[in-house]
Symmetry: C2
Subunit: 161 residues, 2 copies
């Protein structure tokens, strides 16, 4: 979609259409997150652990407070999950080099292996959806979901090819 046609967008969507989209989001997200649960059960972990492992994996050496603002949960909620992951050697904490109050978080090898295992199903689900829908659809998927975010800049797309 180039700039010259940008003015010609239909700017009206009916409530029924918008409710369709709401429902599609619900269904697709429900199925998207429903998968790794079995693996997590084996470790006595839940979805909260999964999210922490994902975001620490994507942001090596992230601080606790930065992780908190991504997850938008409280320190106390994170604490339970994080201390468990550190205790069981999935996540490593080390003192910040310049600010020694910080505890920089990164995945251990064990943590990385779990992330791989957990995300395998989700990655192949997305790959399948992308391949079936085609590259133009993938662009649309990105555009719509980015525009749905409160702060689209929070999403850092690492790789485009």
């Amino acid at each position: 979609m180039d700039a010259s046609t940008a003015e010609t967008f239909r700017q009206n969507y009916s409530d029924a259409e918008l409710r369709d989209a709401m429902e599609l989001l619900f269904f697709s997200y429900r199925d998207f997150i429903g998968e790794p649960d079995a693996i997590l059960d084996d470790f006595d972990f839940g979805r909260a652990h999964h999210r922490v492992i994902h975001f620490v994996g994507r942001n090596p050496n992230i601080t606790v407070s930065d992780l908190l603002s991504i997850l938008k949960i409280t320190k106390q909620s994170l604490s339970r999950v994080l201390s468990q992951l550190v205790r069981e050697d999935f996540i490593n904490q080390e003192q910040g080099p310049t600010d020694r109050r910080q505890r920089l978080l990164s995945l251990t090898e064990k943590g990385y292996a779990l992330e791989e295992k957990l995300s395998a199903h989700q990655r192949s689900r997305i790959a399948k959806a992308f391949n079936q829908a085609g590259p133009e659809a993938v662009d649309g998927f990105y555009q719509v979901l980015l525009n749905m975010m409160n702060n689209p800049k929070e999403f850092k797309r690492r790789e485009t090819s």
Copy 2:
């Protein structure tokens, strides 16, 4: 995207790209569901009530068991929420006309009003995202998310224009 070019899709996405998409789903869904909570608080309701109200609204006279298979939660989980909504006159139950074991669910006027109020923010969020991204992007959004579902036929798109 027409059938003639369907064979030319790039069929390989890197793990990093796929993890990008996972993250975008997380962020956009987090922001999408984060909004109606304040309204729900006023009624002492939670997200579970919201989901029930939404799906009963979209599927008038749905049976309890059909609602359960959409939500993919247990009967006991639904029961607490549903009986509360019935007790406070947001949802109406009536005996099935052919099968009297069934309790067909529908929104009362009060329930419909609440649904309107709750979905208003989400609808305008989606409308904004659709308008910013453009109609082709909207098509892509639909295609990708549909292909991400376990059973795309579960999604019934009511309106296309």
